[in-house]
């Protein structure tokens, strides 16, 4: 596989930082001659691409990978059936991300979204109510089961976006908690 870089190339190498959920990060460097480095160690990877699946062999272990979703530089991948989220940053954009994280305003509005499409059977919380972690907020009926949607933080309910008997899509924001 021939690698030719132009923009952003330094000393014949292209360095990316894969930044994932939980502040995980891995440095992947692609070098014209020296090949691939993962987290500063030389990596010998065999890749076979078959349709949408990647079959990888690294350090004598085999992996099956698939790109499930991609938006600009943000990826969701499945490796051996487990999903991973990474955004691919250059060293500059990574520094920027870290800077922004540090300066994020402390009171963030948390949103609770519907984990799957279904119908809101009951709304158990009220606006301006103080709630605790574990308190049930809604009953969502989906896939023939009634599911309790619970809060994972303590806070105050600032906005309830749904009513009983309303159908919601997966990911719909049900409530905002401060």
């Amino acid at each position: 596989m021939k690698m030719k870089f132009s923009k952003g190339e330094k000393n014949g190498a292209m360095k990316y930082i894969a930044y994932g959920s939980g502040k995980k990060k891995h440095e992947i460097t692609f070098h014209q001659e020296k090949g691939i480095k993962i987290d500063k160690h030389q990596a010998d990877i065999e890749i076979v691409k078959d349709g949408g699946l990647f079959f990888l062999k690294w350090n004598n272990k085999r992996y099956t990978a698939e790109i499930v979703d991609k938006n600009q530089n943000k990826y969701t991948l499945l490796v051996n059936g487990v999903s991973y989220d990474y955004s691919i940053e250059t060293p500059t954009s990574y520094k920027r991300k870290k800077y922004l994280e540090k300066n994020e305003p402390k009171t963030k509005i948390q949103e609770v979204s519907a984990p799957m499409p279904g119908k809101i059977i009951e709304v158990l919380a009220e606006e301006n109510e103080s709630i605790k972690e574990g308190d049930p907020l809604f009953i969502l009926e989906a896939m023939k089961m009634q599911n309790e949607i619970i809060s994972h933080i303590n806070g105050k309910v600032t906005k309830i976006n749904v009513k009983p008997n309303e159908s919601v899509e997966k990911g719909a924001i049900l409530v905002e908690i401060e």
């Binding site: 132009s6 923009k7 952003g8 600009q72 530089n73 500059t92 954009s93 920027r96 991300k97 922004l100």
Partner: protein, 516 residues
């Protein structure tokens, strides 16, 4: 000339002051905030070593009120270079110099580059990172803005104009981007608003942060003002480069061409499976778009706004097309106020710059409701209709599934100027949806029926089968051909090729009166 002599040395020293010292200071200030400098942005935007700066060493004008720092450039870098090998002009504001504020010399520089772009028929990109009008400069600063806005309008529809907001853009300063063709914003470090949070607090006693009021997310999701947003500056500028590759340099040229290895006669059987047989089941129209266009590459704009209509650019056999498609998985694909406006604006850019249009239709109608009616769905829906009627670029429609009533007419039907109109076997073309039609046509029978629900279902199925199918429209000439979804790509490429030299005479008038 003696390169060690006093003439050359002075030249070198002056360059050193500007290009090295001022530059380093700028880097310090901007990097500390997670931003890039004006110069770095230009370097990322243009092809390597193609940028030529103009008016680098101008000094700010003297002012009657307050002081101004004597620094080269007056807070903006202008010039030209090549983007993907094509000439383009740029102005990039420098926040590290007096907050990038606009003084009269700053404004003159921008005006200079706007004039050059218009004179030479080349695209112009404005990178905005400015505190706004320079108070010390007084009315001269406002006059400067006015000159810029005037030229934005003179160039509108003549050369592509792109604004990239990478910092503050407040007060009057937001008008320039608002007048341009595309607005890009970088998440968290840029914002646009007419009145800032401080004034909002004073006048309305509402507390809101810069980002909440006018940040990239707010403008991408809620107001629709920003069409493209990215998490960092590098990706934002890469995005600008990508967008420009779809546009011609000016309104006389046809859009550029990128040779594709994707065979033009590729048959795609997956296309037959995407639209479900059940007319009430949603699907993602972007999957269809990706399977039709070259290399599955679709450059979507305004992705987070008015999501029931998808718009963006792509290529068919190397040639740029503008795609407009209803999105059945959001709001069942209905057209509402926001999506009508989004679609209308998109159609008009494409028409201005000779980009052919592809419409993929699956729309049950306009969104009903008091909210829509009282907010003027009538005039906003009319905008989309006007845009399609007005456009003289090649226009092709493929009806994928539903196409009812007014929405059928609006989405580039044959009689509003669709050049070729195709339909898939799953198409349903009718004045009204089957359930609605049955309720009207068989009102009496429904009232007398034993089991009205069953009756409705039976007759709706009959209606669907006998009246709403695409073959009737085909036989009457409203559809040119019912096609096998698998050959859509091939059909479209051949159809667009046949329309390459399309030209329609426009009536002589100053300009039409689109319902605004």
């Amino acid at each position: 000339m003696d390169t060690n002599g006093k003439y050359f040395r002075k030249f070198v020293e002056r360059n050193q002051k500007y290009y090295v010292e001022q530059n380093e200071k700028a880097k310090e200030k901007q990097h500390a905030k997670g931003k890039l400098t004006a110069r770095e942005r230009i370097e990322l935007l243009f092809d390597e070593n193609t940028f030529e700066e103009i008016d680098a060493f101008v000094m700010p004008a003297s002012v009657d009120f307050g002081k101004v720092k004597q620094e080269y450039g007056d807070g903006v870098i202008i010039g030209h270079g090549k983007i993907s090998g094509r000439l383009a002009y740029v102005y990039s504001q420098d926040f590290s110099i007096m907050g990038g504020s606009l003084g009269s010399v700053h404004a003159e520089k921008i005006v200079k580059v706007q004039d050059l772009a218009l004179k030479t028929g080349a695209p112009i990109i404005g990178i905005i990172d400015s505190g706004g009008a320079r108070i010390q400069a007084g009315i001269a600063s406002l006059a400067g803005y006015a000159k810029i806005f005037y030229r934005n309008v003179r160039s509108s529809g003549v050369i592509p104009q792109i604004s990239v907001i990478m910092g503050p853009a407040a007060g009057g300063a937001v008008y320039s981007p608002a007048l341009t063709d595309f607005i890009f914003m970088t998440n968290k470090t840029s914002y646009m608003f007419l009145t800032g949070p401080n004034v909002v607090k004073e006048v309305l006693n509402e507390e809101v942060t810069f980002d909440e009021l006018g940040g990239a997310e707010a403008h991408s999701k809620k107001s629709g003002v920003a069409q493209m947003i990215y998490d960092d500056e590098e990706n934002t500028l890469l995005g600008v480069r990508k967008l420009l590759a779809y546009f011609p340099s000016n309104n006389l040229e046809n859009p550029p061409f990128i040779e594709s290895q994707d065979p033009p006669d590729r048959i795609e059987e997956r296309l037959r499976d995407i639209v479900p047989d059940d007319p009430n089941k949603p699907y993602d129209v972007k999957e269809i778009i990706k399977l039709i266009v070259d290399n599955q590459r679709f450059y979507e704009t305004s992705e987070n706004y008015a999501q029931s209509l998808v718009v963006g650019f792509a290529r068919l056999n190397g040639k740029t097309i503008g795609v407009i498609a209803n999105q059945p998985k959001i709001l069942a694909g209905t057209l509402d106020i926001d999506s009508s406006m989004k679609g209308a604006r998109f159609v008009r850019y494409c028409d201005a710059f000779n980009i052919p249009l592809l419409v993929l239709e699956d729309v049950p109608g306009f969104l009903p409701g008091i909210d829509q009616e009282h907010n003027g769905i009538i005039k906003h829906g009319a905008k989309l209709l006007y845009a399609f009627c007005e456009a003289t670029v090649p226009k092709i429609t493929v009806i994928l599934r539903k196409s009812y009533g007014g929405a059928y007419i609006v989405m580039n039907s044959k009689n509003v100027g669709g050049d070729f109109n195709f339909a898939w076997p799953t198409a349903e073309i009718a004045v009204m949806g089957p359930e609605g039609a049955v309720a009207v046509l068989y009102r009496k029978e429904l009232e007398e029926a034993e089991d009205p629900v069953k009756f409705k279902k039976q007759y709706a199925a009959k209606y669907r089968d006998e009246i709403a199918n695409p073959y009737i429209a085909d036989e009457k000439g409203f559809i040119d051909e019912v096609i096998d979804p698998a050959v859509t790509r091939k059909k479209l490429i051949t159809a667009f090729e046949a329309l390459e030299n399309k030209h329609l005479q426009i009536p002589e008038r100053k300009h039409g009166n689109i319902p605004l």
